[in-house]
């Protein structure tokens, strides 16, 4: 697998909902190698901000040579990104991380908030029985239609305005979602809940984690998470989210 740093042209850039943006980048070399669950590093044009922003790959079109990312504006960097116009370019590095390991088992795909986009490409690629469980704040539900176009979808909203009121685990229980493997991405409390749920059900859960990064390629040791066992690379209880992850077997990591 080979990573590349390229200057990618922004070929589509729209807003999906309040503060959520959808960007398609021309980046053939990266698209060619990319897998669902991997991410890219996005560098800003603003020279006062030198660190890249890690953003998950939401869609891969190998034929068109494009990558799609969906992101939320949370700070200055993502806000700046949201101002970039179609036709402009952005420097990116990728594909980074391991991605999901796809198994031929009845699957539950769980996405919470801005953890929803990384699940879409997997949802498209998995060629087996699958249900997406998507957790939103309210009925402002970005990407829902696209999940529905490729499989079953179950929804939770925090305010109860649509689907199950509560979180994704509540939705799984209330709407009787079943499966023998979980793939998930979302905020840490959600991942913690999923880890517990998977243990309870005795099934595998692949969870995608987040941490502050610098290099994105496993060199600087910024982005570690606690691992249950002594890790074979670090020889301490640390795994690198950018290289050993972002996807981990929930049993391997401490949350």
């Amino acid at each position: 697998m080979s990573k590349k740093q390229v200057i990618a042209e922004i070929i589509r850039h729209t807003s999906l909902s309040d503060g959520i943006f959808d960007m398609t980048l021309k980046a053939e070399e990266i698209a060619k190698e990319a897998k669902a669950g991997q991410f890219i590093s996005v560098y800003l044009n603003n020279k006062s901000k030198i660190l890249p922003r890690p953003i998950s790959i939401c869609g891969i079109d190998k034929e068109a040579g494009t990558l799609r990312i969906v992101y939320r504006t949370v700070g200055d960097g993502t806000k700046e990104l949201s101002d970039y116009k179609e036709g402009e370019t952005v420097k990116i590095l990728g594909p980074l991380g391991n991605g999901f390991t796809q198994k031929d088992k009845k699957a539950i795909l769980i996405g919470g908030g801005i953890g929803i986009p990384p699940m879409l490409e997997l949802m498209k690629q998995l060629d087996c029985e699958k249900t997406a469980v998507l957790g939103y704040r309210d009925s402002d539900m970005f990407l829902k239609d696209e999940f529905e176009a490729v499989g079953d979808v179950v929804i939770s909203t925090e305010d109860g305005s649509y689907g199950t009121k509560g979180n994704v685990i509540d939705a799984i229980k209330e709407q009787g979602v079943e499966g023998s493997i979980i793939y998930a991405c979302g905020p840490t409390p959600m991942l913690r809940g999923i880890k517990a749920y998977a243990e309870e059900m005795g099934i595998e859960a692949q969870i995608s984690m987040e941490e502050r990064m610098a290099c994105g390629i496993g060199a600087c040791l910024a982005c570690v998470c606690k691992s249950k066992d002594v890790d074979s690379h670090s020889h301490v209880h640390n795994k690198r989210v950018c290289k050993d992850g972002p996807v981990f077997d929930a049993r391997e990591v401490e949350l």
Partner: protein
């Protein structure tokens, strides 16, 4: 055109190496950089035993740079000599091993373990918290620096390069202490201690509260210190701090550095090191300079 330089008897094929801790063990960058084309690879600090490092968040972005508080996580010398040294050797790299420790004993142990290894130079990082002396780093007290240098030098088979902290009143005093104690060369600068506060959460951004500042923002301080040290002692200097372009590297060389390290800039562009080498070549061609050594310390 000659690009090669000499650090304490070791020939670097060009003056560009990597900032310890920013280039992993070299392997992580091998997709982007042919390691044999670098002047040398300087590895992440290694201790006598594995260190877990600090809690996360370990990095924070600041204007024109970053803060890090990795806390010298490393797999320990055993794994290092089994896995990383052979890898680098096979890749054809000139090898500078960065050594860290909490006590004199720690440093000496690592240095002794490396004596029969195919390692070219030892860079001794004396800017990590010194537990033995109650939190004052070896790198901020000339007497402590003298002692640790002496102890390491006595056991080292390879030439040693003491790596100096910029968080001092007088960098030349530190440089002199290290050289008097036998340091064969000097590296500078390590990071400037900094802090970032998240005003929304009203808390430190780094779990460790403070972190080391690196990147383009620190370059003027680094160039000044390299200049001061080059004019105070008589050993070769590896200059670093904010180098991202050949122009940056040349500033350090003209200030008196024999070689330079690219650190944080590797995170901006993983191929920075080789681009710096190419840029230095282009500068020399344009200015009809046949030997890089002519530029070292040429600004007085």
């Amino acid at each position: 055109m000659n690009l090669s330089v000499d650090i304490a008897g070791v020939t670097m094929k060009n003056p560009v190496t990597t900032g310890s801790g920013t280039f992993g063990s070299g392997e992580e960058f091998s997709e982007f950089v042919d390691l044999s084309k670098l002047g040398a690879v300087t590895t992440k600090g290694v201790a006598n035993v594995p260190w877990p490092g600090n809690p996360t968040p370990r990095v924070a972005e600041v204007y024109g740079g970053m803060l890090n508080a990795i806390g010298l996580q490393n797999p320990g010398i055993d794994v290092f000599v089994e896995r990383d040294v052979p890898y680098l050797k096979k890749a054809g790299a000139t090898i500078i091993v960065n050594v860290c420790g909490k006590s004199e004993k720690d440093y000496v142990e690592v240095v002794e373990r490396l004596s029969d290894e195919p390692v070219d130079l030892l860079e001794i990082n004396v800017s990590c918290p010194n537990v033995k002396e109650g939190g004052i780093a070896f790198g901020q007290d000339p007497k402590a620096l003298y002692e640790i240098t002496k102890a390491v030098k006595a056991k080292a088979k390879q030439p040693i390069i003491m790596k100096l902290s910029p968080n001092v009143t007088d960098i030349t005093e530190m440089a002199k202490a290290a050289v008097d104690a036998g340091s064969d060369a000097l590296s500078l600068i390590n990071t400037l201690t900094g802090m970032k506060i998240d005003i929304e959460r009203r808390d430190f951004v780094l779990a460790n509260k403070t972190g080391g500042m690196s990147g383009p923002a620190i370059k003027p301080v680094a160039v000044r210190m390299v200049y001061q040290v080059a004019n105070a002692v008589d050993v070769p200097i590896i200059g670093m701090g904010g180098i991202a372009t050949a122009e940056d590297a040349l500033e350090f060389i003209m200030a008196g550095a024999t070689a330079v390290s690219v650190g944080t800039a590797n995170f901006i562009n993983p191929a920075t090191t080789l681009e710096v080498v190419d840029g230095i070549k282009a500068y020399m061609e344009r200015h009809q300079i046949n030997d890089i050594n002519e530029l070292i310390g040429c600004v007085k």
